[in-house]
């Protein structure tokens, strides 16, 4: 067994030192009826790398990789190119196989990258401070809602009609468990500003998204104003972090809390996880924040160093009075994000965002030219919704046969919302002109 260093001799020697007859002695406290004799049923015994790799490769081969052909799925996760050095950095033993930096003297590598990450996220979102990441965008959104109720001592949260439905569901679930009322506004392609009308003086926060699930970009400043007018907070959500290079960021719109998904920068698609939730807020709210925070300090010699800080908010100190039960961040995904962002730099991100936008514009033009297609999203960054004259699921299945992964049917995300003929699609820097032409041609063929 290649992963177990003890030899039979070692085991015998150690039992002798301990004074036990066999390892069975250590399990004496287990009720007799619960002792498993032999090994568990069904699971085969240990196998070598070659056998395991064959099995797993067969499973992998049954999936169509995004890079293997024209690919246009977005809606909360995006196919971007990640530089090879990022993967090399996150595979570095000292980053990959270490723990939460609770012993800062031997964890400055992790801590300094977290401090750099926090600074980057704050700058990208144009917010005062950011934490060291959450599980993903959706759980960050849910935590933001709860944080807003703590900060305002109010118990009502209002969700826009363009908020990603998975984010809305996660938020509802967390809130309702805690007795927080959640109001979901009607799903709408261009309805973020409706939040402004919905706010009342019971409202803890309004949660709007830009670009939203339909790709629509919206200046949420009027929503922020309306919220602040009623003593409520604005939570501004994004699922496409690359958009921050080009689109008005939360901080410029007056958001109090900005949350979003960081997958697009540094992280692969991974079928939905692990991803990395970005969480930022105004200075005033910092002590209400959930999640880990890394702060600057000095060591006994006066040298600059970094530590996890404000942990009195956290559950290992506060237990039932913690701001959240979360005790991991998305460490390695955070490192991937910050490493990729460091390679990009501000200028690089801006250029990347422009390339994404241009690809989406080209895609929209090409699809709009297909008779019967109607582009529904009025203002977009790198994704948009369009209507087809046929059932979207059927269209996607036929595109699939043509080797094209054409997007997500809106009815998968918004079942029962009469969006059976709507497709959400995205383009990125990975989208080529050939991909776009192939999509348009296939669509023309189909409808």
């Amino acid at each position: 067994m290649r992963y177990l260093p003890l030899t039979a001799d070692d085991r015998a020697d150690m039992l002798k030192t301990i004074g036990a007859k066999s390892v069975d002695d250590f399990y004496a406290d287990v009720p007799e009826s619960a002792r498993l004799h032999g090994t568990v049923d069904g699971l085969p015994n240990h196998q070598g790398e070659l056998a395991v790799e064959r099995h797993m490769s067969k499973l992998a081969a049954k999936n169509r990789a995004a890079s293997s052909g024209p690919f246009f799925v977005g809606a909360g996760a995006y196919k971007h190119h990640v530089p090879a050095s990022v993967d090399m950095i996150i595979q570095r033993s000292e980053f990959l196989t270490t723990y939460t930096p609770y012993q800062p003297e031997i964890a400055q590598g992790t801590l300094q990258t977290l401090f750099e990450f926090q600074t980057q996220v704050a700058a990208l979102t144009a917010m005062d401070v950011a934490n060291a990441s959450m599980y993903d965008g959706s759980t960050a959104c849910a935590e933001a809602a709860v944080m807003a109720t703590r900060a305002t001592r109010r118990k009502k949260v209002i969700l826009s009609g363009g908020l990603h439905p998975h984010y809305a569901a996660a938020t509802k679930m967390l809130c309702e468990a805690q007795g927080i009322e959640v109001v979901q506004l009607e799903h709408a392609i261009d309805g973020e500003l409706a939040l402004a009308d919905a706010v009342d003086d019971q409202t803890a926060c309004l949660i709007g998204q830009s670009p939203n699930t339909f790709g629509t970009v919206t200046d949420l400043s009027p929503v922020a104003e309306a919220a602040h007018g009623k003593g409520a907070l604005l939570v501004s959500v994004f699922t496409e972090a690359v958009s921050l290079g080009l689109v008005t960021p939360p901080g410029e719109m007056g958001a109090d809390i900005a949350v979003g998904e960081g997958q697009s920068i540094g992280n692969g698609l991974n079928f939905g996880g692990p991803y990395v939730g970005l969480f930022a807020c105004t200075q005033k709210l910092v002590r209400q924040m959930p999640g880990r925070l890394c702060g600057e300090t000095t060591d006994a010699d006066g040298k600059r160093g970094f530590v996890l800080t404000l942990s009195t908010r956290e559950q290992h100190i506060r237990r039932d009075k913690a701001t959240s039960n979360i005790c991991t961040n998305s460490g390695l995904c955070t490192l991937a994000f910050t490493a990729h962002m460091t390679l990009l730099g501000g200028k690089g991100l801006e250029q990347l965002a422009v390339l994404n936008h241009e690809a989406a514009c080209d895609l929209a033009d090409a699809l709009a030219a297909v008779p019967g297609v109607e582009i529904l999203t009025p203002r977009f960054f790198n994704e948009f919704a369009f209507r087809t004259p046929m059932n979207a699921e059927a269209v996607l299945a036929m595109l699939d046969e043509a080797g094209i992964v054409g997007g997500v049917r809106a009815s998968r995300l918004f079942p029962g919302d009469h969006m059976g003929d709507v497709i959400l699609c995205a383009a990125t820097e990975c989208t080529t002109q050939e991909d776009i032409a192939a999509y348009a041609a296939a669509l023309k063929e189909i409808i």
Binding site: T39, N63, R92, T328, E350
Partner: protein
């Protein structure tokens, strides 16, 4: 050597990526455009690689040595798992691709679920929780949903939590709208059954119990079946914190102990890398009683052999408590965990548990004469010591920091709370006897110095990349991001 921050090294003009020039298309943002540039610096690739490599050298890691953090299960991370997770068929697929194009991914989730159910002898598992605490949350939400179904969610609010519990347990209970009622530990480090029974005298407000087993003292809860019976008799549910599952995999199936829900830390027991604080993954196994309330999404296999995601609260999922997060769980961790499980197999998983427990008992045996073992008898996969043996003025933290100078990561300090100045040592099955002997020798020598009151310990570490850091200063006026230093204006000539 200090490594500067990227903000001090880089410039906003620099970039470490080469992108094609934009075409200059007129934008369709409708004016919703960023006004202020981010101002973030970039680094060329050589600079970036060097920055991260140098920073990495300031970290300790399992790949470099023993990492005996109790309750964290810092075991070896096989590299095959990393390789497999990077196959394009796993790493490069989108969660919302048509399901016909991701049948292998769905099959993988189903296969991993099968083995988790097999190893725990539980009938159901929720795969989507993103970490241990998220798994706890999942478990407690299913209990809440079951109480809703029973019409008792407003009355059954009380959750019993032993004082030795992980801090996340009470936090989770509160997050689910429950009230926490602490129960005491007895002198053997287990649940005090008298206290438990007293707490259950009034039983109509009992939602359940949250118990870690093996518990945070590294001990198996001897009375666990009786506890399960008592809770069930009281009309409550039994949540088991599975953080310490590594001690018993292949030897004990939690389903045989009467539990209703237990999360499994894939990043502990099944060795997905801790990555400096995540990502984790916390699938939660459920009993028949709780299975109907499991969160969406989950994978089902249709009659035609196709795998399908149930994503909405309808049909088979109509009693589900809802959705915990976007998409379908930590696929990247699933791939690694399944690779780990298949590599070890039934015999290897059992042997790993036994070796983990053997290693912990060996450490306990080697050190109990110089340090204070608060409870008699064998331990499970972690050895607990208190600070009773130290001289006045020497604390647990001093021993921990002194270990750094010996080339080791410290053990878990001051946890569990039931023991004064706790030191919780979990060597895991990944250590050889030679490695353990070196570690015990080092700790033994530190313990002797601690007993003698060696003041030098208070200054440790001396040999680490940094000396002790001032955490109070960090918290007093938090500096949470880098800011451009304010340059003092030149003094005007008089």
């Amino acid at each position: 050597q200090a490594e500067g921050l990227i903000f001090e090294i880089g410039t906003p003009e620099t970039t470490g990526v080469d992108l094609p020039a934009p075409k200059g298309t007129k934008n369709r943002l409708g004016g919703v455009a960023r006004k202020q540039p981010t101002g973030l610096p970039g680094l060329s690739e050589p600079q970036a690689v060097r920055h991260y490599m140098r920073l990495s050298q300031k970290n300790y890691a399992i790949d470099l040595g023993l990492f005996p953090l109790g309750s964290c299960t810092m075991k070896h991370n096989p590299r095959l798992n990393e390789k497999i997770a990077r196959l394009p068929g796993f790493g490069d697929i989108h969660p919302l691709q048509p399901q016909a194009t991701v049948q292998g991914a769905l099959e993988l989730i189903d296969e991993l679920a099968t083995w988790l159910k097999t190893l725990t002898n539980m009938p159901a598992v929720a795969m989507s929780p993103k970490a241990g605490a998220h798994g706890e949350f999942c478990g407690m939400m299913t209990i809440r949903q079951a109480l809703i179904a029973r019409g008792e969610v407003e009355t059954r609010k009380r959750v019993l939590v032993p004082e030795s519990a992980h801090g996340t347990n009470p936090a989770t209970a509160v997050q689910c709208g429950f009230i926490v009622d602490e129960i005491k530990a007895n002198k053997r480090g287990r649940v005090d059954m008298e206290d438990l029974k007293a707490k259950l005298e009034k039983s109509d407000d009992i939602a359940g119990i949250m118990l870690t087993n093996p518990n945070t003292c590294g001990l198996f809860e001897t009375d666990i079946k009786e506890i399960a019976d008592l809770i069930h008799e009281a009309g409550g549910y039994f949540y088991c914190d599975g953080a310490n599952f590594n001690a018993i995999v292949g030897r004990v199936r939690p389903g045989d102990l009467g539990i209703d829900a237990m999360h499994i830390n894939l990043h502990k027991t099944f060795s997905t890398p801790h990555g400096g604080g995540g990502p984790g993954s916390g699938p939660t196994v459920l009993s028949e009683a709780l299975a109907p309330y499991a969160p969406v999404p989950f994978v089902v296999k249709d009659a035609d052999g196709m795998f399908r995601l149930v994503e909405d609260i309808e049909g088979v999922a109509s009693e589900s408590f809802g959705r915990m997060a976007a998409f379908h769980g930590q696929m990247g961790m699933f791939v690694r965990a399944l690779t780990y499980i298949l590599s070890h197999g039934a015999d290897g998983l059992k042997q790993a548990s036994e070796d983990a427990v053997l290693n912990a008992n060996y450490v306990q045996a080697r050190l109990k004469s110089v340090m204070t073992a608060p409870f008699d008898g064998y331990c499970m996969h972690e050895a607990l010591f208190s600070d009773a043996f130290t001289a006045e003025g020497i604390e647990t933290i001093d021993i921990a920091k002194a270990l750094i100078d010996e080339g080791y990561h410290p053990m878990t300090m001051y946890f569990p709370l039931v023991v004064h100045g706790a030191m919780l040592i979990e060597p895991t099955e990944s250590e050889s006897k030679a490695e353990l002997d070196r570690f015990c020798d080092a700790l033994e020598s530190i313990a002797r110095r601690a007993a003698q009151g060696d003041e030098a310990l208070k200054g440790a570490p001396y040999l680490a990349p940094m000396r002790r850091l001032d955490e109070t200063k960090a918290a007093r006026k938090p500096v949470l991001k880098w800011e451009e230093p304010v340059v003092a204006p030149p003094v005007a000539a008089e």
